[in-house]
């Protein structure tokens, strides 16, 4: 047996190196989490087991440390105008406290990153993927208009994601029940366990839940309080392993897998966050051109008919021809079968198969999300 992707149980990374620790790192070690280097951060991939943690989030609630995410602030008289240039979605539609899923693209339409944009008073917070933080920072700062101020708040921001159908009850238990009135994709500042935080009704799991931004010095207090308050509901810390299976069951794209600088919103099914009519933005012309020329491939979802686990990089085959590639695949704990997303040549008809090592396994195209029972709120 070889090639474990995980570090050893209880294994503590050599933090003498450049790996950064979040404010909650000691809690993960104390909870015997398996810690891996994720985008330069020592992060918990699992505590008890991915399937168990996945089911915890689907049934009551789980707690993720996602402090590795990046937070940038744009402010100043031209902040909105700058944002409209660099992001694909319509930032001007945001009222105070509103959150929006968006993307940034290169001139050729390829994704730089996907992100959340928050309007907080007159400034905007951009929440970006940890692995892309440095690249995003360079891009954003070099494309700001005069009159826009930029601040990287990543190192002074911790982020705890409380996710699951009972999340409201957990907030209630720590005296933060007033956030129950927050709508989906809204955020508000307030008190959580006696500390000030920005609470956002968002997530990456398909369940109702809240993402809680706070100062690193307050993260331990909030984390411990949520676990204690959630104990009657068996709320537990959950790792990045189940974050991936949960998001994939919802068909949510992951940067580096399903979207990257070789893909545009057009074939990724993300035209709903790409507002061609809002005026010019970086990448717009290329996306318009691509659509006019006709798409050659499209991001699809499939499930295996037999047993097996599709993985990133596997070929999609039809009538002995390679017609696509798997970009994300896993064993779905909820559906108890292999599921995946991938780019499939437009016009492919007839049955498809996934080439897994030397075998070809029958698969069928399915509508996203794979998992349709999630408690997530729709706006």
């Amino acid at each position: 047996m070889v090639a474990c992707v995980f570090g050893r149980k209880g294994y503590v990374l050599n933090v003498e190196t450049s790996v950064a620790k979040t404010a909650l790192y000691d809690r993960h070690v104390a909870a015997d989490a398996r810690i891996v280097d994720f985008a330069g951060y020592a992060m918990p991939i699992q505590y008890r087991g991915i399937v168990d943690e996945h089911r915890r989030v689907r049934s009551t609630a789980g707690l993720f440390d996602v402090s590795h995410m990046g937070e940038f602030f744009l402010s100043g008289s031209s902040a909105l105008e700058s944002l409209e240039r660099i992001a694909t979605n319509r930032a001007s539609a945001l009222v105070d406290g509103r959150v929006q899923y968006s993307a940034m693209c290169y001139e050729n339409g390829g994704f730089i990153d996907d992100l959340l944009v928050y309007r907080l008073g007159d400034s905007y917070m951009l929440v970006v993927n940890a692995a892309n933080k440095a690249k995003d920072l360079d891009w954003v700062t070099s494309h700001l208009l005069p009159g826009t101020e930029f601040r990287d708040a990543s190192d002074e921001t911790a982020l705890i994601a409380l996710q699951g159908p009972r999340s409201e009850d957990v907030l209630e238990a720590v005296g933060a029940g007033s956030f129950a009135s927050l709508g989906y994709y809204y955020a508000a500042r307030g008190d959580v366990a006696g500390r000030t935080a920005l609470v956002s009704r968002t997530g990456y799991t398909g369940e109702d839940g809240f993402e809680i931004y706070c100062e690193p010095g307050d993260a331990l207090t909030i984390w411990d309080a949520l676990l204690e308050g959630g104990a009657p509901l068996h709320v537990e810390p959950v790792g990045l392993g189940c974050r991936d299976t949960l998001r994939l069951e919802m068909g949510y794209a992951l940067y580096g897998n399903d979207i990257d600088d070789t893909r545009t919103p057009a074939e990724a099914g993300l035209m709903w966050i790409t507002k061609l009519k809002k005026g010019d933005f970086i990448g717009r012309d290329a996306i318009v051109e691509k659509r006019a020329a006709g798409l050659t491939e499209r991001l699809i979802g499939f499930e295996l008919e037999g047993r097996g686990v599709p993985r990133h990089g596997h070929a999609i085959v039809s009538a002995d021809e390679t017609v696509g590639v798997v970009t994300s695949g896993t064993f779905s704990p909820s559906l108890e079968r292999g599921i995946g997303m991938g780019y499939l040549a437009v016009g492919t008809d007839g049955p498809i198969e996934i080439e897994i090592r030397s075998r070809r396994l029958k698969a069928k195209l399915v509508d996203l999300p794979f998992y349709k029972e999630g408690s997530v709120r729709r706006a």
């Binding site: 047996m1 392993g241 686990v309």
Partner: protein, 125 residues
């Protein structure tokens, strides 16, 4: 379950020899490292293998791992229960979670493998 009498490889397979045949599987340490096992690909009965050949593939949610034959032999039986219940490897690594029964080409080959005490020391090394 006691591991007394089992022989182990550095790559975490175990072998339980009975005459000219041996059951093999993955160690409890290995199943724990892999996490939830969701799929097992086993060879066909009658397959002849040399020591070090890939005998099976075990997939957990996050990883794919190959299982190597500790010795030369022929596959005489596979654990069909693993098709519906691959998690037997997680719950009973040395019992119901066995993978394959091999007919050994040379019984003396097992002398190269580690005892349970040596293996335990190996995993703590």
């Amino acid at each position: 379950m006691s591991t007394a009498g089992l022989r182990f490889t550095e790559s975490h397979e175990w072998l339980k020899v009975d005459g000219e045949e041996a059951l093999m599987g993955l160690s409890d340490y290995a199943q724990h490292e892999l996490g939830d096992i969701v799929f097992v690909e086993l060879p066909e009965e009658g397959t002849a293998v040399s020591a070090g050949d890939v005998l099976a593939t075990v997939e957990s949610v996050k990883s794919v791992s190959e299982v190597y034959s500790p010795v030369a032999g022929e596959v005489v039986e596979i654990n069909g229960d693993l098709e519906d219940s691959p998690d037997l490897i997680n719950t009973d690594a040395y019992g119901d979670g066995w993978l394959i029964k091999l007919k050994l080409t040379d019984v003396a080959e097992i002398d190269r493998l580690m005892s349970d005490d040596e293996y335990e020391a190996h995993t703590k090394g």
